[in-house]
């Protein structure tokens, strides 16, 4: 049973002040904040994690919840109140089926090249599809695969995690089952090693950094 907080009762004055500070910072920002960013503005020695947990708990049953996305924290409205607020959302462009599938493939298979996406979908992807996803800020070019032709590899961004409410890429729905079934393995039939999708910016062994003008050429910049 959520409650509207027992913070003041339990916490000494300083702790209460620290809680208010964390609350204010998170409330003020429309973007998720990392624990370190928060800690940087708190009195030294504050237990940020504990403060956040306490706030998380205090808000758990409220109209606004404190959630963890992309390894950071943000306040957002409770999901059961979607009906109340959806009219504010305006008509957002619906993603095409092709774009949605492509996004899923990039999320689960990253880093992944265009050819690999096409192999999985069995059709070529139109240039517009990747553009739409880049424009939304959900995918980015990561690097280049160290194979002939040096194809660009794609991955998801932090904005992707924030938009879909994921703490980390490892929290993608059904990821474990897919891994278990060997469906994330590029090779056919399922081999021994099961790669895990990774969105960290560190390049893999078989990835090179992007060429300086890759981003320019695409008219895009990285979105995270």
């Amino acid at each position: 049973m959520p409650d509207f907080g027992n913070l003041t009762l339990l916490a000494p004055e300083e702790r209460r002040m620290a809680l208010r500070m964390v609350e204010a910072m998170l409330f003020a920002s429309a973007q998720p904040l990392g624990a370190r960013e928060i800690a940087a503005r708190l009195p030294e020695g504050s237990d940020v994690e504990a403060l956040i947990r306490e706030l998380e708990h205090a808000y758990s049953g409220r109209g606004v919840n404190l959630v963890q996305v992309a390894g950071k924290y943000m306040f957002r409205t409770a999901s059961d109140l979607a009906f109340l607020l959806q009219r504010d959302a305006g008509d957002q462009k619906k993603l095409s089926r092709a774009a949605l599938e492509t996004l899923a493939i990039i999320a689960y298979h990253q880093p992944v090249t265009r050819a690999e996406i096409e192999e999985i979908r069995g059709v070529s992807i139109s240039k517009g599809t990747l553009d739409v996803l880049m424009e939304a800020g959900w995918i980015k070019m990561r690097g280049r695969r160290r194979t002939p032709g040096r194809p660009v590899t794609y991955g998801t961004t932090e904005a992707f995690l924030v938009h879909f409410g994921l703490e980390a890429i490892g929290d993608l729905p059904g990821l474990e089952e897919l891994k278990g079934a060997g469906l994330l393995d590029g090779r056919i039939p399922p081999g021994f090693s099961v790669p895990e999708p990774r969105d960290g910016d560190a390049l893999r062994d078989d990835e090179d950094p992007l060429d300086p003008d890759d981003l320019l050429a695409a008219g895009l910049s990285e979105h995270d």
Partner: protein, 276 residues
């Protein structure tokens, strides 16, 4: 001729042979098979009709279904996109490999391996579709859940935004001025009175030099600045030596470094000219 000149007749002449062709063209339009996104998508839809777990699907049955479907479309004289036909050919080959297991060379995958590969691709595509559906049905920011509508931005105080000390400033100034004093050498364009110029001026003046006249006197109009003096004198001297050699003027100098005098060799003619 009359017909071609006539507008209607002309259009008739042009249109007549074309019309039947165009009708044939209509039937040759390329069909994107019922909105399927490629052969794999179509195969997956057909597999769904088998209503079994994709892992247990009969690839042979599926191949037959696909080939039958494609055949049906072709009987309707529909031109299919090439990748559907490529898949049909591949499935026909797969079917033959599955039905008549011919001893194949080692490198080539067996019919079963090919079937397994196709089954894998179908399962993977379906898995990605499911994943996409799960993803899109999450509580998405800006659709189901919302961030703060009036965020209060962090106000950046810029007072000491840039770190720079007076020392940095002075060092930068001094070293850059120092650099410039060494590297920027303003080479002023030297003004030179060319030999040709000097000769031209002297030649024009030959008629007007009545008697021994110091060279610098009649050159004075050209010596406007001290810098010009050297070049004017040098060039005039060289030019005048040439004129002496040609027998047109005479030069006289009484002592080293004293004034140089010049006069017309043919003074009578010169006087005559002057009088005129």
């Amino acid at each position: 001729m009359a017909a071609t000149r006539d507008k209607d007749g002309q259009s008739e002449l042009w249109q007549m042979p074309d019309a039947p062709d165009r009708k044939e063209g209509d039937s040759a339009l390329v069909v994107d098979v019922d909105g399927f996104e490629g052969p794999l998508d179509l195969l997956l839809a057909l597999a769904r009709t088998q209503k079994v777990d994709l892992a247990k699907i009969s690839i042979l049955a599926l191949a037959e279904q696909y080939l039958a479907y494609i055949e049906q479309l072709r009987q309707l004289r529909l031109e299919l996109a090439a990748d559907y036909l490529v898949m049909a050919a591949w499935l026909a080959y797969l079917k033959s490999r599955l039905l008549l297991p011919a001893p194949a060379p080692d490198e080539e995958p067996s019919g079963e391996e090919m079937a397994a590969a196709l089954a894998f691709r179908l399962r993977r595509l379906e898995a990605m579709r499911d994943a996409a559906a799960k993803l899109v049905n999450r509580d998405r920011l800006g659709r189901e859940v919302f961030q703060r509508g009036m965020p209060e931005p962090v106000e950046v105080i810029q007072n000491s935004h840039y770190a720079a000390t007076l020392y940095d400033l002075l060092t930068a100034y001094a070293s850059q001025r120092q650099r410039q004093m060494v590297s920027v050498v303003h080479v002023r364009r030297r003004q030179v009175w060319s030999l040709a110029e000097a000769r031209e001026v002297l030649t024009r003046m030959i008629g007007s030099i009545a008697d021994w006249t110091p060279v610098d006197v009649f050159l004075s109009p050209w010596i406007q600045t001290p810098e010009m003096r050297a070049t004017v004198l040098a060039s005039s001297f060289s030019a005048s030596l040439e004129l002496v050699r040609e027998g047109r003027v005479e030069l006289r100098q009484t002592a080293p470094f004293s004034s140089l005098y010049m006069r017309d060799r043919d003074r009578d003619g010169a006087e005559g000219k002057n009088d005129a």
